[in-house]
């Protein structure tokens, strides 16, 4: 079972985990990413392309499913406006063996952080708003600051 989803709805981690649990697979590994409220961030807005973003996620999932022996794989990315603490992304992989599940999750979250077709806009408590620039290594820099809107 491969389930890939992208949309503005809140991610129900417990429900997704319950679906894997029902499979009774020997091992499930997961990763949950949440909005960090660093530097007074008040909202993170993720913009996506209705076709390309989902296609990219599906391709990543297919790559992982081909590389590791997985019994079930769930990849959900939220888009739209989110407050600090809210869940942006869930990666959940189940397998008969722990090594496969863990490796698939690590691969997927690393690739998601760089490859997936999303644009991030940060809004801060003091009114600054800016689109995040493409990563240079592991370092994010805000492209430029424009007045809040």
């Amino acid at each position: 079972m491969i389930r890939v989803s992208v949309g503005p709805g809140a991610i129900d981690v417990a429900a997704e985990y319950a679906a894997h649990d029902a499979g009774g697979h020997g091992a499930s590994a997961s990763f949950v990413g949440r909005v960090r409220g660093d530097d007074g961030l008040s909202e993170l807005f993720l913009e996506h392309h209705p076709v390309l973003t989902l296609a990219g996620l599906e391709e990543l999932a297919a790559t992982a499913a081909a590389r590791w022996t997985l019994a079930a794989l769930t990849l959900i990315h939220r888009v739209g406006g989110m407050a600090p603490g809210e869940t942006i992304v869930l990666v959940l992989a189940s397998s008969a063996h722990r090594g496969e599940a863990l490796a698939a999750v690590e691969f997927l979250i690393d690739r998601l952080k760089t490859d997936v077709m999303l644009w991030k806009r940060e809004t801060f408590g003091d009114g600054r708003v800016g689109w995040v620039e493409q990563r240079d290594g592991d370092h994010e820099r805000a492209e430029r600051w424009v007045p809040g809107q």
Binding site: L46, H49, L52, T114, D115, L118, W119, E133, R135
Partner: protein, 85 residues
């Protein structure tokens, strides 16, 4: 040539719309030429496309380069480099 263009992220914000229908002249035949034409067309285009090398494009849901031909009656998406999940 009739085209539908969609804009994303700061390109969308600077253009002031998420999508629009355009009809560039016949000598605008590639994606790169479309970007140049939009950049010269008006003030918002000048703002959005001041650095054409920073613009990425997809035609009918496929990523393409600047020399890709424009699709007759199709869709072109223009956007900045992605910033990941």
């Amino acid at each position: 040539m009739a085209l539908k263009i969609s804009y994303f992220a700061w390109v969308r914000e600077r253009m002031g719309v998420a999508e629009e229908a355009v009809a560039p002249p016949d000598d605008v035949a590639t994606v790169g030429e479309l970007i140049d034409w939009l950049g010269a067309r008006d003030e918002r285009g000048a703002l959005a496309f001041a650095e054409p090398q920073r613009i990425r494009a997809a035609v009918d849901g496929q990523m393409v380069g600047a020399d890709a031909p424009l699709p007759q009656g199709g869709e072109v998406a223009l956007f900045p480099p992605v910033t990941g999940g």
